[in-house]
């Protein structure tokens, strides 16, 4: 749960504190106000001065669309300081015609009967039909005539500019000003460009096209909700108005739209058309169902003030469906249980009322406090049935749906930092992850062997995903051939697949170092690799390590470096693997194609492949312009972890002398040391402590295709001093075994 301020999904907006002060008489200065708002969750990111005005850059959380305007922020201030929030009451002249009709509710098809009735009148207002009451729950409108489109008053121009918008004309600015003031998106149509004398809110028809205000032709689908006139769509509901019906300098008559569109409908449209507008942003997050008349009137008032003209008829308010929400319970016991402190009932009610909630306590407020509880308790919810409030949530708080949401309102206005810090008692036990000691051991060994820990990017290009697929994948997956796992929306082509191996990342990092002149590199990474297995996928933990350059560097103490070779890597691998219990550990040359075929190996522990390692194939190295030998290793930790960690075992150190014997043999190249060792181990000579090669020689003296090897055996018994004849007999057995492999004994 890390909230990142991402520019793409910003809820950044500006607030002008002097505008707030029109709605609440705030006693503190702008800076203090910013701090207090931030403490209550209305985050002021920065406070700036511009043209003599203080400007707040806000960073609001996505749930608080109600506070994305000046009146909403003022309401928060009113709750914080417990001061009155002034009402917004547009002053409009009495309309020339007609009585004020009641709001119209007419079921799924909401048609204003009032408008119908007026349809024939000369100055008739507009009939509004909501064909889709799910997508549009309310559509409020006003008709204005004889307006004069022109410049806006200075105050409006200045405020819009401070908020980062350009002034367009007095009608467009009025809707823009209102959205910043009240938060509700409205739209103004050129009434004379609406054909058919009606406005219909409906789903678009297949094949309909709407040119939106930004000049783009939008191909509509039947899922799009549009505002249409009698003939054509004129606006994408809640997203953007149409180009052809917009207010221009020549506009005389205006229709103001103030509607409530359903969040998901707007969101899916905005997504489908790749449009993210101020209006869609607000509707998506849940606009205020109750404010449409006020917003409509406020826009009308602003237009009247700046563009003149007159109202034609009364406000038309068409309700497709009512958005009613049941009151929420608020139990005093829940405050204590969740927040950890008691809040006095008066305080609770005060906070909620200032935020626009209405509360009905079930306690009888007129009842005198009982004599036995004349203390602070009186202030609380009290006992029995009276410890419960019924809370009506205002229409602008769609985010408040449950009792717990009310608790958050209380907590944030009370002030998070006014809660004491406590530590909970705990009755449970502590459990360790089963692989944790193994992970820790592997890491400890790699660090001790001198490898630096690295983290590489999890994504690789397709070609690498394929190339390195078998380096980790095993034949043990009988069900489906493993494939790379593709990302649907990758960052770029180079990151189209999930890594199938840790090797590409390590090779890249080695290359990164070599390109910067660091020639001795040892890195390891432990992490997940990914595969697609038919319909399933697999995620497994691997260890990768890589080395290049010198095992021991040249220095003032050493004229020649010791280069890192296959056998350094093998030694490191053996050290690592020996940390795990096993019966057998064998190395063979069955390796994936990314390795040098003659300088790489597979490690098989108790019959399962647990690692592959060796020199990176020179061709792959050349493709990556790696000019020195690079060694890479990958360990399948998931399989290695099938084995227990090795438990230390103690064996008494023999008191009896050890006897060494050397055997010098010549073998064919085809006879590997592994075969020699295995052959001797078959003898099961109990007192052979070790059997190891001491020297290997290839060259003229032994001839092509052959090599000589000096083998050293060490005999020692726990119980007694070994007799010469015993050792001689074992030596004879060993020689016989080696001769059976085709070896020629040169000296003993």
């Amino acid at each position: 749960m890390v909230r990142r301020v991402s520019t793409r999904h910003t809820n950044a907006m500006r607030i002008i504190p002097s505008w707030l002060r029109e709605f609440v008489d705030i006693a503190v200065d702008d800076r203090q106000l910013a701090e207090d708002l931030t403490s209550a969750g209305i985050a002021v990111e920065s406070v700036q001065q511009e043209n003599g005005e203080t400007i707040y850059e806000m960073d609001l959380t996505t749930n608080r669309v109600d506070a994305m305007n000046h009146y909403g922020v003022a309401r928060e201030a009113s709750a914080i300081y417990d001061i009155e929030l002034k009402k917004v009451e547009p002053r409009l002249p009495k309309p020339k015609v007609r009585r004020s009709p009641p709001p119209n509710v007419s079921g799924p098809i909401g048609m204003t009967s009032f408008a119908e009735e007026l349809n024939t009148a000369d100055t008739g207002t507009f009939p509004i039909v909501i064909e889709d009451p799910h997508g549009c729950a309310r559509y409020t409108a006003r008709v204005m005539r004889n307006v004069k489109i022109g410049a806006s008053p200075d105050l409006i121009v200045k405020r819009l500019e401070l908020l980062g918008s350009r002034s367009i004309n007095n009608a467009a600015d009025a809707t823009n000003y209102a959205i910043n003031e009240l938060g509700h998106p409205t739209h103004a149509f050129d009434l004379d460009l609406l054909e058919g004398g009606t406005v219909i809110v409906r789903r678009a028809r297949e094949g309909e096209v709407l040119k939106t205000l930004d000049g783009v032709d939008r191909k509509l689908t039947t899922e799009d909700l549009v505002i249409a006139d009698g003939k054509k769509p004129v606006a994408l509901a809640g997203v953007m108005g149409g180009f052809d019906t917009m207010i221009t300098e020549g506009t005389k008559n205006v229709l103001i739209e103030s509607a409530w569109f359903e969040p998901w409908t707007v969101r899916s449209m905005a997504k489908r058309h790749g449009m993210h507008t101020d209006a869609s942003h607000r509707f998506e997050r849940g606009a205020d169902f109750g404010i449409t008349p006020l917003a409509c009137d406020r826009v009308a008032e602003l237009i009247l003030q700046s563009a003149g003209g007159e109202l034609d008829g009364v406000r038309i308010d068409t309700i497709g469906r009512e958005l009613k929400r049941p009151p929420l319970p608020l139990r005093h016991s829940e405050i204590k249980r969740n927040l950890g402190i008691d809040l006095a009932q008066l305080q609770v009610e005060r906070i909620l009322r200032r935020l626009g909630f209405e509360t009905n306590g079930t306690a009888d407020p007129s009842a005198p406090p009982s004599a036995s509880s004349g203390s602070a308790r009186d202030d609380n919810f009290g006992e029995g049935t009276s410890n419960r409030l019924s809370v009506h949530v205002p229409t602008w708080r769609l985010d408040v749906e449950r009792e717990i949401d009310l608790l958050e309102e209380l907590a944030r206005i009370y002030g998070y930092n006014n809660f004491p810090n406590t530590l909970p008692a705990f009755t449970g036990g502590v459990v360790e992850l089963p692989d944790e000691p193994k992970n820790a051991k592997v890491r400890e060994i790699m660090l001790a062997l001198g490898y630096d820990e690295a983290i590489s990017i999890t994504f690789i290009p397709e070609q690498e995903a394929q190339t390195f697929l078998d380096s980790s994948s095993a034949k043990t997956h009988a069900d489906a051939a493993p494939e790379p796992l593709a990302v649907a929306n990758p960052l770029n082509e180079e990151s189209a697949y999930m890594r199938t191996s840790l090797l590409p990342g390590l090779i890249n990092m080695v290359a990164y170092n070599l390109n910067r002149g660091t020639t001795n590199v040892r890195l390891f990474e432990a992490g997940e690799i990914f595969e697609k297995l038919g319909e399933r996928h697999d995620e497994r933990r691997h260890l990768g390590f890589a080395a290049t350059g010198d095992a021991i560097t040249k220095s003032v103490h050493r004229t020649q470096p010791e280069p890192y070779t296959f056998f350094h890597m093998k030694g490191d691998m053996e050290k690592m693997l020996s940390a795990f219990e096993h019966q057998s550990l064998q190395f063979d040359t069955t390796v994936p194609a990314c390795f040098h075929p003659g300088r790489s190996a597979r490690a098989e522990m108790d019959g399962a492949t647990v690692a592959v390692f060796g020199q990176l194939h020179p061709q792959l190295a050349a493709e990556r312009k790696l000019r020195q030998e690079v060694y890479i290793a990958e360990v399948m930790l998931d399989r290695l972890y099938q084995h227990r960690l090795r438990e230390p075992r103690y064996q008494r150190i023999s008191k009896f002398p050890a006897v060494g014997r050397d055997f010098s043999f010549v073998f064919d190249d085809a006879v590997t040391f592994e075969r020699i060792r295995f052959s001797v181990s078959e003898l099961n000579l109990g007192d052979v402590q070790s059997f190891a090669p001491a020297e290997v020689y290839r060259g003229e003296k032994v001839g092509a295709g052959k090599y000589s090897v000096l083998l050293h055996a060490e005999f020692q018994s726990q119980e007694r001093t070994l007799r010469d004849d015993e050792v001689a007999q074992w030596s004879t057995q060993i020689i016989a075994k080696l001769e059976a492999l085709g070896g020629v004994l040169r000296a003993q």
Partner: protein, 374 residues
């Protein structure tokens, strides 16, 4: 070799075997011995002197035997014999052991010849270095382990259900947009909640753990997460989080604050202060952002804290009852239990802690960078 004095001494023929004469010969002999012993300053000289005096064939001791005793008149033979024996004992005693002074001097000279310039650099064996991000992650996890938290883990490729739905992000919810999710290809045929994606936070492990384990519960979840953000100095497609979750019958908002305050003091020192601001996460209610007093300037204001004295470090909150609803069958009844959760970005803390200027440095594998964190 300084044998000047000795060269002057050779065993004289004895003319006078009288007691006085023997006495004189004795003194001359011993005086020469003393001189030789004193002049031998090295082990070699000491050995040479010993040979001169004690060599069986031609040593000065043999000489007095031959020269004095054998040619003594019979009447003085007894005295002469006594004298020779006495001198033999003295000389043998004298040379029986190399004096410490000589030994010490010799050894010191030999050792002095083996002297090294100890100011030359040492031969260092490489020890690998822990990655700075994982190092910080370990430190955070250790703090919570010490507070009785178990460690939890979960997969990096997650389903929509665990990453979003069960964390109270309904399908199509705007809060999903802020997650910049990377999706796995080819999921269209699956039901929405089974579709695979790369987890955008470690929070899915909250649900996974609660499915497995009934309350009470205290877990800390370190892990890797991915988002659709190209790599640059401030963004990364991968980063690490440490998530925490505590659920019990008695967990309150005050406990959340107290736990995190305690943890921050354990991580950054006891003088660190915390403060909390309301925030929004779909899976917590109430939600909060936590700030710590700047760990560099102590709250006075510096570049790191943008002169505010505070650094935003993590998100947290009380577990939303809707989340418990998904694991209700495992004993998570929100009318009886409550819990808190928190999550922090490890890279962010590592960047702050070490003053690293770009997040991409963590993933380049540059050993010049990595080896600074030893």
């Amino acid at each position: 070799m300084n044998l000047k004095t000795n060269a002057m001494y050779s065993v004289p023929k004895l003319e006078d075997y009288s007691p006085d004469g023997l006495e004189r010969a004795r003194n001359e002999f011993l005086s020469a011995l003393d001189t030789d012993v004193l002049n031998a300053t090295t082990e070699e000289e000491w050995k040479a002197a010993r040979d001169r005096w004690m060599s069986r064939k031609s040593g000065l001791l043999s000489q007095i035997n031959d020269t004095w005793l054998k040619s003594s008149p019979p009447e003085h033979r007894r005295n002469t014999g006594q004298l020779v024996n006495e001198l033999k004992e003295i000389v043998t005693g004298q040379f029986s052991q190399t004096p410490d002074a000589i030994l010490g001097r010799t050894k010191n000279q030999a050792l002095a010849a083996e002297r090294l310039d100890i100011s030359l650099p040492g031969i260092q064996r490489a020890i690998g270095v822990k990655h700075p991000v994982l190092r910080v992650m370990d430190e955070i996890v250790a703090v919570f382990k010490a507070m009785g938290y178990s460690v939890g883990e979960g997969p990096e490729v997650e389903t929509d259900y665990y990453n979003f739905e069960s964390l109270n992000f309904p399908p199509n919810h705007p809060a999903r947009d802020t997650q910049d999710t990377l999706f796995i290809a080819g999921q269209e045929r699956k039901p929405a909640r089974e579709r695979l994606l790369l987890r955008t936070h470690t929070s899915p492990v909250q649900i996974r753990t609660m499915e497995k384990q009934a309350p009470p519960l205290r877990i800390v979840i370190p892990g890797k997460v991915h988002r659709n953000d190209p790599l640059d100095a401030t963004h990364s497609p991968l980063f690490h989080q440490v998530e925490g979750l505590a659920v019990d019958t008695n967990i309150t908002f005050c406990d959340l604050k107290g736990t995190l305050d305690h943890a921050m003091k354990a991580l950054f020192g006891s003088s660190v202060k915390t403060r909390f601001y309301p925030s929004f996460f779909p899976f917590t209610e109430p939600s909060a952002d936590m700030q710590v007093s700047c760990i560099f300037c102590g709250g006075k204001g510096c570049r790191t804290c943008k002169f505010s004295g505070w650094i935003e470090l993590l998100g947290c909150g009380m577990v939303d009852p809707n989340v418990f609803e998904f694991v209700k069958d495992n004993g998570y009844d929100s009318s009886k239990i409550s819990g808190f959760a928190f999550g922090m970005g490890v890279e962010r803390i590592a960047l702050l802690k070490y003053g690293v200027e770009g997040i991409q440095l963590f993933y380049e594998g540059d050993v010049r960078f990595l080896e600074q964190f030893s």
